[in-house]
């Protein structure tokens, strides 16, 4: 009985260790994947930033046939005629997801 118990404990220890090793390997793979995903995220972020530049936007607009207006007129409204009031100051840009 004692021998059986010892063998059982030994098998349990081996099984646990192999499980640990397996999880560790899985963890390593996941870490590598996360690393690769971060690199990909940075690359895509750069691509978005490049596509979003004024130069790119203007170029795309022209290629789509848009042109600059020859004349721009300001139409007075009630708000424009009141004394200019400043708001609390420039708002902080939303940086969530900016990095």
């Amino acid at each position: 009985m004692l021998l059986f118990g010892v063998v059982l404990i030994a098998f349990a220890a081996i099984a646990m260790h192999s499980q640990l090793a397996s999880r560790q390997l899985r963890l390593n793979v996941l870490r590598t994947d996360v690393d690769a995903a971060e690199r990909e995220h940075q690359r895509l972020r750069l691509t978005v930033a490049e596509l979003d530049t004024p130069e790119q936007v203007v170029s795309s607009a022209y290629s789509l046939g848009l042109v600059g207006a020859a004349e721009v007129e300001f139409l007075p409204t009630a708000s424009t005629m009141e004394p200019p009031t400043r708001t609390a100051g420039p708002t902080v840009p939303d940086l969530a997801g900016g990095r």
Binding site: E55, V67, F74, P76, P84, P90, D94
Partner: protein, 782 residues
């Protein structure tokens, strides 16, 4: 004698046990007769042999036990030596074999524009490296590597050379992505490895390059904000210590210590990317149109001192116009000329030495010390008020005003407005300008300094002067940074380096504004008029000093215009400085129109309401469209909120903003029915600079005159590793430098970090004092 004594000793072998062993089959050298202990005959019986064997066995046992004990003692001693005496050393050696330290590089912080768009950012990728000492056949290895790389990435000969170098570290290719890395790794090429690296990218190419600056190949800032914020942007590297197997894989359940990297702080600048792009385009057009060597245009928020756009442009050797690497607006100085007269006037009014209505007798020349100063346009001796003096930009009148001030008070105000000291930006290589100490003023200094000659300023300093007047006499410190964000996303406003300073009273500032409005309305700055806005500003045309001798260079001028708008409630200020314009030397001719263009675009971009009052008029026939009240408005040009509320909707389609002078004559150009061009209508709410239109108005069209492309140049003295991340698809990379995209700076084969741009630590100092002839002129509007 018994014959048995002569027989050989049959037990010689046994006797020898424990003693010296004799070789079998070889007789003892010792004669038997000389044996020390002859064996007695009676011992040769059986019982005697057993007794002898027992004794021998006991001896053997004792010897064996002794040996065993010694062995155990030795083992224990050795064990004690290993586990007690050498414990630490051996444990350390074991750790060294299993534990691997991996440095986790900290990501360099981004530099963003005021709305969070990245101007500079870091991207991770791989670098292909080699250990040439492990490569037996460089040619074969090069072929293996090249087979995996995209075609024409590098030349074969170049790679063979790199693989043959007597070094242990050779960089083969930069900018490799994960897919390509996997392909190369699968080939298992001996001596070829990868290392991870960060590369710095400017998504908007050359946009604001002179402000952002550059980093070197080690990601250290070498110029601009990259250098100025080096410590904050860099962050702190992390470290991973883990137990690894021989193959490098982590041992399950082994030790693992992680000290995470701390990314550098991200900085939010005051720059507006859209405005910067538009201003760059307009500046390059202005330079091209005027034939200038280069130019600077800055737009700032008068209330906060924030620089919204800063364009430094120069003409390249091939005749194109491109953004400079150095921030000329901050590191280079020039003699400001007549734009400096506002300081003289403001000081005199503040000190109550004069009022705008004070009349002066103004001839067209005037002698100060041993020099003769003259107005640019000859005129009879006039009786001009102070306002007229400024409107006509009279040198003689300004000098007379300065003489009422005395040099001490003039110097105090010049320095009070910020001349002679660096701005609060503290940009790398920034110049403080050049102001002579009072004790070095010559007899003619009271003639030169008031009209902006004999002193040197940076463009930002001069813009700060106009900001002060626009801001009610309070000088706000100029700023390029708004806030910083740490790696947890916590944003902290960047503290002001200086406190606001009241230089002149608000009454003086208002008086100066009204005088500057007259300069634009009816003086030398009429070309700076912006439809719909009242503009306050001043022209400047100054000679350029000789750099190697006293006096000024013939025919070399700096034309400038500085101003702000809307004059009744200033929001934005703009300065334009053109270096050696050719079509005209006058600021009122070449700089003022560029100011107007920039101001018009910026006002529209930030949706700044047009000026109320006489500048907003009706264009169609009021009698057919409008109520009696609106007709009155049309006649007088005076709006009231009640009038607008009552009539805005029906009148909206027929209202245009136009100068008051044109009020009585309805303009056909603003009637939609008679115009062929499409018209963009912008409703102008009261807006804050932080929330401009989300997309730039299409009227900007700066791309119509794009910044000229930089020529593709080979700036590297020796070939460096190509960068796939910056690669043009069909160009060999090893020995031919890549062409940069249009409007970008020349870059080397290794990327922008190694471009030949000079760091911004130099300062152009060009100033002349005590010039023989000073002709500081402003032309009337053509």
């Amino acid at each position: 004698m018994s014959p048995s004594w002569t027989r050989p000793n049959l037990h010689a072998r046994s006797v020898a046990i424990g003693g010296r062993r004799r070789r079998p089959g070889r007789a003892s050298r010792r004669p038997v007769g000389h044996s020390k202990r002859p064996v007695p005959p009676q011992r040769r019986n059986t019982g005697g042999v057993v007794a002898v064997d027992r004794r021998r066995s006991r001896r053997r046992l004792v010897a064996l036990n002794s040996f065993g004990i010694l062995l155990v003692v030795a083992m224990m001693g050795r064990s004690a030596q290993l586990q007690v005496l050498q414990r630490d050393t051996l444990a350390e050696r074991g750790d060294r074999q299993r534990l691997r330290e991996t440095v986790i590089r900290a990501e360099r912080g981004d530099i963003l524009d005021r709305f969070g768009a990245p101007l500079a950012m870091s991207v991770r990728d791989w670098r292909l490296i080699a250990d040439p000492q492990l490569i037996a056949n460089p040619s074969a290895t090069a072929d293996l590597v090249l087979a995996k790389l995209p075609p024409r990435t590098v030349e074969r000969a170049w790679m063979v050379d790199k693989l043959s170098e007597p070094t242990r570290y050779a960089i083969l290719v930069n900018g490799i992505d994960d897919d390509l890395k996997a392909k190369i790794e699968a080939a298992r090429i001996k001596g070829v490895y990868f290392s991870e690296r960060f590369r710095r990218e400017n998504p908007a190419s050359d946009l604001a390059r002179s402000i952002i600056g550059r980093v070197d190949t080690e990601q250290r800032g070498t110029s601009g904000l990259e250098k100025m914020l080096e410590n904050e942007l860099t962050g702190r590297d992390g470290e991973l210590i883990s137990e690894r197997s021989e193959r490098g894989t982590q041992i399950p359940g082994g030790k693992r210590t992680l000290r995470p990297a701390v990314s550098g702080r991200t900085f939010v600048t005051t720059i507006d990317r859209s405005l910067q792009y538009a201003v760059d385009g307009m500046t390059s057009k202005g330079i091209a149109d005027s034939g200038a060597r280069g130019g600077v245009v800055i737009v700032s928020d008068v209330k906060t001192g924030e620089i919204l756009a800063l364009s430094n442009m120069e003409v390249t050797s091939d005749g194109g116009v491109r953004s400079t690497g150095r921030n000329t607006a901050l590191v280079s100085v020039y003699e400001p000329g007549s734009v400096n007269k506002v300081i003289t006037m403001a000081a005199a009014i503040e000190e109550r030495a004069v009022t705008p209505q004070t009349a002066l007798i103004v001839p067209d020349f005037y002698k100060v010390g041993d020099h003769r100063f003259k107005d640019d346009v000859g005129h009879k001796t006039m009786r001009w008020t102070i306002r007229d003096v400024l409107v006509n930009s009279s040198n003689v009148g300004t000098i007379k005003v300065a003489q009422t001030l005395t040099k001490t008070r003039l110097d105090r105000y010049l320095r009070g407005f910020g001349l002679g000291s660096k701005t609060a930006i503290d940009f790398p290589g920034e110049s403080a300008g050049i102001m002579l100490p009072l004790n070095k003023w010559t007899s003619t200094s009271i003639g030169t300094v008031p009209i902006g000659q004999g002193i040197s300023v940076t463009a930002v300093q001069m813009l700060s002067v106009y900001n002060t007047l626009a801001n009610g006499g309070v000088r706000m410190p100029m700023r390029l940074l708004r806030s910083s964000v740490d790696d947890r996303g916590v944003e902290t406003p960047v503290a002001l380096r200086e406190q606001p300073v009241t230089v002149v009273s608000s009454a003086t500032a208002a008086t100066m504004t009204s005088m500057l409005v007259d300069v634009v309305d009816k003086g030398t700055g009429r070309a700076a008029h912006v439809k719909g806005y009242s503009v306050a500003g001043k022209t400047g045309t100054a000679q350029k000093p000789n750099e190697r001798s006293r006096g000024y260079r013939a025919g070399a001028y700096v034309a400038s215009f500085a101003g702000y708008f809307p004059a009744e409630s200033p929001r934005l200020s703009v300065i334009v400085v053109l270096d050696e314009p050719q079509t005209s030397i006058y600021g009122g001719v070449v700089a003022a129109p560029l100011f107007a263009e920039v101001a018009r675009w910026a006002g529209q971009h930030y949706r700044i309401p047009p000026s109320a009052g006489s500048r907003v008029v009706l264009t169609p026939d009021p009698s057919t469209v409008l109520s009696a009240e609106m007709r009155a408005v049309a006649r007088t040009g005076n709006w009231s909120a009640a009038t607008i509320r009552k009539n805005a909707l029906p009148a909206a389609a027929s209202i245009a903003s136009r100068p008051a002078s044109a009020a009585s004559a309805p303009s056909s150009t603003v009637l939609p029915s008679t115009r062929r061009e499409p018209t963009a209508v912008t409703i102008a709410p009261v807006a804050d600079l932080a929330s401009p239109s989300t997309s730039p108005p299409t009227t900007a069209a700066p791309a119509a005159v794009p910044v000229a492309s930089a020529p593709a140049t080979t700036a590297t003295p020796r070939p460096t590793a190509p960068d796939l991340a910056r690669r043009e698809p069909e160009r060999p990379r090893a020995t031919v430098a890549p062409t940069s995209p249009p409007s970008s700076a020349p870059v080397t084969a290794a990327g922008a970090q190694t471009s030949g741009e000079s760091t911004s630590t130099q300062t152009n100092v060009v100033v002349a004092t005590g010039a023989a002839v000073v002709s500081n002129v402003d032309a009337p509007n053509p």
